[in-house]
């Protein structure tokens, strides 16, 4: 069956664009309840992918890029869904380029290559164009100059917004490719993760949410 997750996809709420969202339309608990309808193998692959390339997991990623590459190489063997594998590769490419942009001023290309070798297909290419600001990749990834500007201006928020927007659009295309299939499900999960991460960045909203939780706890007791 080409579209095995019609019920599951229809049970998921609409996710507003993360920049305009005021609150998450579904809690993690409720989302996990819905995801119980996934086939065991799909659920396993999604869990592996989430641990590897979800936005919030990337905040808690291994300390060095080399560790990340080792984890990636071990995990990617388990992924058989082509669209999910492609998305993971897309995220690893993105992270590799970002690692290159961050390090190009401080380390030699050999050190960079040693760290990320075996992860992204662009690792060698980046190392061989180490002194060029956009590694000669701006034609393939038009966002590189903008990301470099954010890095140079220490605008972490702008950089996050840019990266999230790129991932969001990519996930939108993936979901469209099979509206009621596994693609739509995992695209939702990763979009939801981005949304959560974005909402968590809002200090005012975080304070308000914290107060709500405090009130809920008080009311429960």
């Amino acid at each position: 069956m080409a579209e095995p997750y019609i019920t599951l996809v229809s049970s998921l709420p609409y996710l507003p664009p993360f920049e305009r969202a005021e609150r998450s339309p579904i809690t993690r608990l409720r989302l996990e309840q819905r995801l119980h309808n996934l086939e065991p193998d799909d659920a396993k692959q999604l869990a592996i992918a989430e641990a590897l390339v979800s936005w919030r997991m990337s905040l808690a990623k291994p300390k060095t890029d080399k560790d990340m590459v080792l984890r990636y190489r071990a995990a990617v063997q388990e992924i058989s869904q082509p669209a999910l594998r492609e998305f993971i590769e897309f995220r690893i490419d993105q992270q590799t380029i970002m690692a290159g942009l961050r390090q190009s001023k401080t380390v030699f290309e050999s050190a960079f290559l040693e760290q990320v070798s075996g992860a992204s297909r662009w690792a060698g290419f980046i190392a061989s164009h180490w002194d060029i600001p956009d590694f000669k990749l701006a034609a393939v990834y038009p966002w590189i100059p903008e990301a470099r500007n954010y890095l140079e201006n220490n605008d972490a928020c702008g950089l996050d917004r840019l990266m999230m927007n790129i991932i969001w659009r990519r996930l939108g295309k993936i979901a469209e490719s099979n509206r009621f299939g596994f693609e739509a499900v995992f695209a939702f999960v990763f979009k939801w993760d981005l949304l959560q991460a974005w909402l968590a960045r809002d200090a005012v909203q975080a304070k308000s949410r914290f107060q709500e939780l405090i009130n809920e706890v008080k009311n429960d007791h």
Partner: protein
Amino acid sequence: MEPLILALGWLGLYAPLALGAVGSMIGCARAGSAACGALLEVEGGYGRYIGVAAMPSSQTIYGIVVTMALRRELTLENSPGIFGLGILVGVAMLYGAIALGDACASSINVSKSKLEVFGISLAPAALVEGFSVFAFVFALVLAAAIPK
């Protein structure tokens, strides 16, 4: 050769109903699955979604009518015509019902989050239904031209 031609006539006679029913089963299952999922997300108006999920059943009704219109004593003269007409309109009903099921599932999926688009989101389903009606009506017109 004669029994083969007569067998094809029988095949064409029952094809609109059988293929229409198969299409309706698949279409209703898809739209119904979407409706079941939507029920988890909405607070009311459940009947609306179940009603939309039943839309692909119309192809079975068209199939019944076409089969009844084609029904006659099968002969070597009329069997080829009944076969051609019956099979083609059956395929149209089969695919029409499946496509209608997909269109209804999409309509249910979007309107659960934005109720105001419920009506307009059914427009693609109505278009698909329209093509089924064309196939149905012209099958009836052509059935009258097949020798009794």
